[in-house]
Symmetry: C2
Subunit: 307 residues, 2 copies
């Protein structure tokens, strides 16, 4: 297959939806945004051997994950997706050794583009002597005039997560998760959100990022951290807690609201879960508090790429 053939296939597979005016096939894509739109842009690169193992999974899941992690970032910016740009580095012999592989990859991408109504509006595809890499750049527009940011946590706020944590990588949840658009849509309509982010590297890594951005600290209640059923029940309590804090790739939302707003969460539909895990403090320490009230520093952990 040549580059021209691929472009023709993609242009047929991915229809151009507003506000995209011109999609695949020219030097760039053209979008006509509504006046006063808040444009949000996110990007993530996924690599064979780091974020998935290509020889162990359906390529549709690799394509799906590459888009889904970006969708999670958009949800964390209280935005809905409008256009994706997908770049691929493909091992030179892959279309011979694994025919149909590229089509399966795009099947996984197409599934999400239909579910969330965005256009795959461009990209770049190259063959090389390296492993498979995929970069997705996703454009969205805010669903609220004031996009809640990491820096918006206020001392006294309560902290919540939208679901249980840990065990995502071992159980394949990192390939199949649903970005939390349902949760953020309801929250934006019903609650005055302060800080917001998604949990990609584990609460132990991501929570300090929110606290750093907002010049605050936090006290997390150890007993309130929701440990996912994917974390083995056979582990010690400490190991289970550590998995919930540090495994990463949960793609749940972490947010803060003032204590006065907390009551409103009780009116949420049953299928949404908002789990209180602690509170924001003026003191910049980040502490874990056990059932007896003793605190210790939140153990550093979770996933950070060494560079």
């Amino acid at each position: 297959m040549t580059e021209n053939d691929l472009l023709n296939n993609l242009a047929r597979r991915f229809p151009t939806l507003p506000p995209v005016v011109l999609g695949i096939g020219d030097d760039g894509a053209l979008l006509q945004l509504p006046a006063d739109a808040q444009l949000v842009t996110v990007t993530d690169m996924l690599l064979d051997g780091v974020h998935f193992r290509l020889d162990e999974i359906d390529p549709a899941l690799a394509g799906r994950k590459a888009v889904a992690v970006n969708l999670s970032d958009l949800a964390a910016m209280a935005s809905r997706p409008i256009a994706a740009f997908i770049s691929l580095a493909i091992p030179r012999n892959l279309s011979q050794t694994r025919p149909g592989w590229l089509e399966r990859l795009y099947d996984g991408i197409e599934e999400l583009s239909r579910q969330y109504h965005f256009t795959v509006a461009g990209g770049d595809t190259n063959a090389w002597n390296g492993p498979f890499a995929i970069n997705v750049c996703l454009l969205g527009v805010g669903i609220t005039a004031h996009v809640p940011l990491r820096r918006d946590a206020m001392p006294g706020d309560l902290l919540y997560v939208t679901g249980a944590l840990g065990g995502s990588l071992n159980h394949g949840r990192h390939l199949s998760f649903q970005p939390r658009f349902d949760a953020i849509r309801w929250l934006v309509d019903n609650v005055r959100l302060h800080a917001l982010m998604d949990l990609s590297d584990g609460l132990a890594t991501d929570l300090p990022r929110m606290m750093l951005a907002s010049n605050t600290g936090a006290v997390i209640l150890q007993e309130s951290i929701p440990v996912h059923a994917d974390v083995s029940a056979g582990l010690s309590a400490a190991a289970r807690l550590n998995a919930a804090l540090s495994d990463g790739e949960d793609f749940e939302l972490l947010f803060s609201i003032s204590a006065e707003e907390a009551e409103k969460l009780g009116k949420a539909p049953r299928e949404l879960s908002f789990i209180p895990i602690g509170r924001v403090t003026q003191d910049r320490a980040i502490l874990l508090q056990d059932a007896s009230g003793h605190t210790r520093p939140l153990p550093a952990g979770g996933w950070q790429h060494g560079i």
Copy 2:
């Protein structure tokens, strides 16, 4: 260096310029575009061993090229850059074996961000066991209400290129070229442009893309094709012609205008060069015409990635 350290360095290095409201450091970047802005998005992924050889060049040139090829795409969409998103896949040992390497890469990117006044507003960085890869996604806004596209060539139009072709890879021009913003700014202000694209894969590959998109053909005058001084004078005339048609990575603009507009090009500043190379035809063939008036099909060639 950790991912957090890198983000802090980048946030300091790349200031947030309007219309970017929020740059590096959150789940995504936030932009507030002027009303009626035409948003243009381009993306290109560059790979070690395909687009440059990392062990042979200054990393600043790799970073520069990765952004410059995207700038060329924006020029070909009659747009100016506003925000770049840069994803890197970095060989795991690189910061040990080549200290300062990542900083040099960003030096090359910073040079262009200052020259063309755009914000590096986000990205993603991962270490892996593969070679170096860089993806740039660049957002721009149209400098004209009607962005000229590949499909806009009309039978009877004259075809022009903005500079000489060939020899780019052998002489390093592919690392140091200037995207043709000066040319496109003057053209947009002074001429009614029809079709427009940039030449990245060689005229023999790119011209047929324009003709296909606009349902036209073309007759190219062999003698008028400008052969770059980078093409060896020692080659045969046929080999020199072939180099100009097929070497690729020229990053000149190719455009069409009606014959009535041609005269206006004579008023362009001396530093801009607009070289007529042929004409657009209703007949869909793409022909090369020699000095004696004989025509033959334009030889297929130039660079297409096999996938």
